[in-house]
Assembly symmetry: C2
Homo-oligomer: 294 residues x 2
């Protein structure tokens, strides 16, 4: 049970967390704060939060937990703004898609990573955004990755673990670097590729005709290129090294495949496509089985 | 009205064409042929065709139209097998995803492209395959591209146009090179990228963990990597030059984006992502409007 929970940033992610915890009845009061008054008013109208304030210090006074639910790059600013209001009994967590840059920022701001700071990343989202799109079941059967350090307070970790478990999520722990490397490969790289592909085609002189003949496969493949450009700009910048490394691994593989196509190496082309299909079918089948079991 | 229609290859594409034409009642008899007896037996059991034979010559005797509905590279072999059975009154069409290689093959086999050969490409498909997956509505509101040459018989063209129109498809004409270039960009390139990405991740030492954290965006993005590897191997080989050219355009754009990320060029990253999102949203919105109007 959390007595008072403060949420900074009432969008899809923060709003859905509030809804899930309210439904479960495991938090006494939820206070919203952030820079956009309209979102806070809307969140209270929708019953997502109990009250709101534009004053961060007021929001976290007497709070047990504060969740920084802003976009990735803004989370660093919120940490800095939190500094004068920090106390040992205030547990801090966040939802940023990149963990290394935020942990580095915490170290810069506080001198060391505060033991009551538990970095987190719920792997959930939607093409929609804003508190209006928030749902109490957004996290059900989704994964939440926490990246505690050696010095992280075990009680703080337990509270945040429990908070996410109450939303229906599966809570896992990973090292910061590992998190950022894995997410670069499975999420950040695909977004970069989709944006680059659509931009390459759109800048072609025959763009209109090219898109006219795009079928269902292309629509699925490029769906993530319709994601929020500002959010993804932030993520790519925050996770630069891991994103570049993922791009290089991919480009190396693509160059090998290009060479096979150019030299009409039938066996190599077929091997590559067959390996890829097998890997995708196998992993998604096993993931699906895990999900349905849950 | 087609009196006798022969279909070579009873899979999803050939089977769905047969079902659509039977439903519309615009063909008197459909004769199936091909190499896989089991598919032909199944097609007759399902009522997709009226009768079948393993003998291509027998299948096309007295036929008005023969549709080569085999995979891309096999279509060339079927054209060669058709040579001794060709007559001026037998209209020939096909469904191959690449048109240049098949037109070249026709020129090699017949000395010139026969005037009664109307190359075609229905832009429709499914992750499923086989005659069991065939549907009478597969082509409704989908595009079929015909790539006639200057010497193509206008009556033959009209018959094939009319045949596809009877399936509910929108029939368009394009030059062979243009078709292959546009399809390379919107279909062949995305498949190559999806296969390359999954293969790059699968060959990573932490593949299992990487796939474990793949979320919905990754699943959509890589769906086409679960497509039939043999079919796509054929397509990429048949359309080699246009595929290589598309890959190079993409790689150039990706390298520019990589440079922007490496130098932390915030404006350039944001511009690229924003342009891509706008292009995708705009084109798919306008395409959707066309589709709903039809």
């Amino acid at each position: 049970m959390i007595n008072k929970l403060a949420i900074v940033g009432l969008g899809l992610i923060g709003g859905s967390l509030a809804r899930a915890l309210k439904k479960k009845g495991c938090v006494a009061e939820i206070i919203g704060t952030g820079r956009r008054e309209a979102s806070l008013i809307k969140a209270q109208e929708l019953g997502v939060i109990d009250r709101w304030t534009l004053d961060l210090g007021e929001a976290v006074a007497q709070a047990d937990v504060v969740v920084i639910a802003t976009p990735t790059l803004i989370a660093e600013k919120v940490l800095a703004d939190l500094k004068p209001h920090m106390r040992r009994s205030l547990i801090v967590t966040d939802v940023a898609s990149v963990k290394g840059s935020l942990v580095d920022a915490a170290r810069r701001i506080f001198g060391e990573v505060p033991p009551q700071f538990v970095p987190g990343h719920p792997i959930a989202g939607s093409e929609q955004s804003g508190v209006e799109a928030s749902r109490e079941d957004l996290y059900v059967n989704h994964r939440v990755i926490l990246t505690p350090a050696q010095g992280t307070d075990t009680d703080a970790l337990a509270v945040i673990r429990n908070m996410w478990a109450n939303t229906g999520a599966e809570v896992l722990e990973m090292a910061v670097d590992e998190h950022d490397r894995v997410l670069a490969a499975t999420s950040h790289l695909p977004h970069v590729l989709a944006y680059a592909l659509v931009d390459a085609l759109a800048s072609n002189g025959s763009a209109e005709e090219i898109f006219k003949f795009a079928a269902g496969g292309f629509r699925d493949f490029t769906r993530i290129a319709s994601s929020d450009p500002v959010m993804w700009h932030d993520i790519v910048r925050a996770n630069r090294d891991a994103v570049l490394s993922s791009m290089d691994d991919f480009s190396t593989r693509l160059a090998e495949l290009r060479a096979a196509i150019e030299s009409d190496d039938s066996a190599e082309i077929l091997d590559t496509f067959t390996r890829a299909k097998s890997a995708r079918d196998e992993y998604f089948l096993s993931q699906y089985q895990v999900t349905t079991k849950e």
